[in-house]
């Protein structure tokens, strides 16, 4: 009889078992392996690493498997693991100019030194379901794949001669050309220490470093919607995709005892530099401004959206209006983390009997008073020859 309030322990145990069943699905179907997820769901792995703030493809793949493909749940798993890791050291700032580029495009120049390389992109595919993938054996047919022997054609659409690009060690940044001309403020390496949002809570107003960190781990969907809103009319930042590049960069640390840098390996990153219009003011000549986006792996959409929002959030520094959602620092940064957001939204599933009981008691009390008062009013009204129906119709017109 009193069952409704009891029985937490057994229920939790059984729920965990049901979840394990659900995760595994039909056991006659092969178990999904971590290498399979890493190789064939690599964009999911990249997103989980980026928003989970941990570069580890195996653990991200594990998280995706454990979360049954629920990306936000997988991100949460990775974050909860990450938080227990000790911090040994900081790496040197990665140099994306020295990137081993797999994709690199600019939307503001027809051609650029180093050339444009489409790389592996969905961009010019027709979104037609490829029914041949339904049959597993067809996966072994590699006729549609690019062979090592094909190298040279690659996906470069450069009109500059191949010789000019082939021995380029560094692909120059497109935005550097604008900076050289003074059309874009030179990026300065701020002497200020870089904030670390995992060690110090966000403090408003935030520094740009804290902002960029928060945006990097922000939910892609949320940033996408905000970025979109700036293009559609809630903010005017006139964006151009100055350069998007994806590829591998070295990660190195300086060991104090040795006094020189040691390369630890490489990571894959995506980077987007947006060029935005800005009219200038009394103290500054007209020049462009920029927004910046970066992610682990191939998360191109995320970096574009991030760059739009980063630019929007500079509104205050640039003396622009901050009355749009995307330009409101506290609104954007306090609500963009999907681990925080999904946690707080889903906590509504937890029991709230006590608070609800408190509300029930008050609403019942107020209703009682309301009906007592209305009966009194009604009897007064009938005394002054006003009928109940008249009273009601008056109420309706008033309400």
């Amino acid at each position: 009889m009193y069952v409704a309030v009891k029985g937490g322990e057994a229920a939790i145990d059984n729920a965990h078992k049901l979840l394990a069943n659900k995760r595994r699905g039909d056991v006659s179907v092969n178990d999904l392996s971590i290498p399979q997820i890493k190789q064939q769901l690599s964009l999911a792995v990249d997103r989980v690493m980026t928003e989970g703030s941990l570069y580890d493809q195996d653990l991200a793949a594990l998280a995706i498997k454990q979360a049954m493909g629920d990306t936000i749940e997988a991100i949460f798993l990775l974050r909860a693991y990450r938080t227990t890791l000790p911090r040994f050291n900081f790496t040197q700032v990665i140099d994306t100019s020295a990137m081993r580029v797999e994709r690199r495009i600019s939307a503001i120049y027809k051609d650029i030194p180093g050339g444009q390389a489409l790389g592996p992109t969905f961009d010019y595919t027709h979104r037609l379901l490829d029914f041949s993938l339904l049959v597993e054996e067809n996966e072994n047919d590699d006729s549609h794949l690019l062979k090592k022997t094909d190298v040279g054609i690659e996906s470069s659409i450069s009109t500059l001669s191949d010789e000019a690009t082939d021995h380029l060690e560094k692909y120059p940044r497109v935005l550097d050309f604008l900076q050289q001309e003074g059309l874009l403020p030179a990026s300065v390496n701020s002497a200020q220490a870089v904030d670390d949002i995992t060690r110090e809570p966000l403090d408003y107003p935030t520094s740009r470093s804290a902002r960029l960190q928060q945006l990097t781990r922000a939910d892609e969907g949320f940033l996408l919607a905000l970025g979109y809103s700036t293009q559609r009319g809630y903010g005017r930042t006139h964006p151009f995709a100055g350069e998007i590049r994806m590829g591998y960069v070295d990660v190195s640390v300086t060991v104090d005892e040795l006094g020189f840098d040691i390369c630890l390996g490489e990571i894959c990153v995506s980077e987007c530099e947006m060029v935005n219009q800005f009219a200038g003011n009394q103290t500054q000549p007209p020049q462009f401004t920029q927004g910046y986006g970066i992610s682990f792996g191939f998360c191109e959409r995320k970096t574009l959206a991030m760059a739009l929002v980063d630019r929007s959030l500079q509104a205050k520094e640039l003396g622009e209006a901050t009355d749009t959602p995307a330009a409101s620092e506290e609104f954007v940064l306090s609500h963009c983390d999907n681990v925080e957001a999904s946690g707080f939204v889903s906590h509504l599933k937890l029991p709230h009997y006590v608070d609800f009981q408190s509300e029930l008691a008050l609403v019942r009390k107020m209703r009682k008073e309301y009906f007592v008062k209305n009966t009194e009013n009604a009897s007064e009204d009938s005394a002054t020859t006003k009928t109940q129906s008249q009273y009601k119709s008056e109420e309706r017109t008033n309400g």
């Binding site: 409704a4 909860a80 809570p201 946690g343």
Partner: protein, 289 residues
């Protein structure tokens, strides 16, 4: 240690930094101290702030009690208790007076707490001004300047629109005559228990990354007006299990016709009262025969 995780999950440096924050919070009762909240293996909104505070203050000899909605056996209380059983291997209990640390969500135990006990609250929104002034930049300024007029205006508007102050839980309090503090979403029924309590109250808001505290023997006043004094909830009946008439009652719908039953929300208190009632009755019977 073979365990993949440290004692009470968090690493020692993190626990130290949280304890430093707690010391500051105790030194300035009711003031919200920012801290670098960590991701915990349970979702934000499910008590990560409270769990971090408990993890930071828990020692090997502590005895932990975890309640949610007043009860030890609600799902989330079970889950959090298990978490500490697993990661800290501390003793756990449902007996209020035996617990050295009580982590709670939405209630303060009915029986008076004693000196040396610590109550850890899980806090969703630490700033009582949030729904009046959503910007933190602004609300922090208001706290600093003790600019709490808006809070009274809000309560006054409730009275003028509805005839009552419409806040029934998370009812704003003034701590040590200085800071207006959100007591977390406990029913206002529990607010008086905070005033001059012998126990230490610690509050942790994980998602919002804030800590605050009420040291023992600190005044905690619920905001009100002279002509509309603060009142707590009352019920017409008594608990239908233990017949207690002065505890917070939960309403349970027990059949398809919507028949209601009222029972204590504090499950341990209810059990105790029931035992006491039984003892009284058997003593009465014994004396009568």
């Amino acid at each position: 240690m073979d365990e993949p995780y440290n004692f009470a999950y968090l690493d020692e440096q993190t626990k130290r930094s949280i304890r430093r924050g707690l010391l500051k919070a105790v030194a300035i009762p009711g003031y919200q101290v920012p801290f670098a909240g960590r991701e915990m293996p349970m979702p934000y909104g499910w008590g990560t702030g409270g769990v971090q505070v408990t993890a930071s203050i828990l020692g090997k000899d502590d005895t932990l009690k975890v309640i949610d909605q007043g009860a030890d056996d609600t799902t989330n209380a079970v889950s959090i208790r298990r978490f500490f059983e697993k990661t800290a291997r501390v003793k756990t209990t449902t007996v209020t007076e035996q617990a050295s640390v009580i982590q709670t969500r939405h209630r303060i135990p009915e029986q008076s707490l004693t000196s040396g006990q610590i109550v850890v609250f899980q806090v969703p929104i630490p700033d009582p001004l949030r729904f009046i002034e959503p910007s933190e930049t602004e609300s922090r300024k208001m706290h600093a300047l003790e600019e709490y007029g808006v809070m009274h205006v809000k309560l006054y508007e409730d009275i003028s629109h509805l005839g009552h102050i419409a806040t029934t839980y998370a009812y704003p309090t003034k701590v040590n005559h200085r800071y207006v503090m959100d007591p977390s979403p406990i029913p206002k029924f529990d607010n008086p228990k905070m005033n001059m309590s012998e126990a230490l109250f610690l509050f942790g808001a994980g998602r919002e990354k804030r800590l605050y505290a009420i040291p023992p023997y600190t005044s905690v006043n619920s905001l009100d007006f002279d002509d509309h004094p603060f009142e707590i909830q009352e019920w017409d009946g008594v608990c239908q299990i233990c017949e207690s008439g002065d505890s917070f009652l939960d309403e349970v719908i027990i059949d398809d016709d919507g028949t209601r039953m009222f029972v204590c929300s504090d499950s341990y208190f209810c059990e105790q009262q029931k035992i006491k009632k039984k003892e009284c009755k058997s003593m009465l019977l014994a004396s009568e025969s």
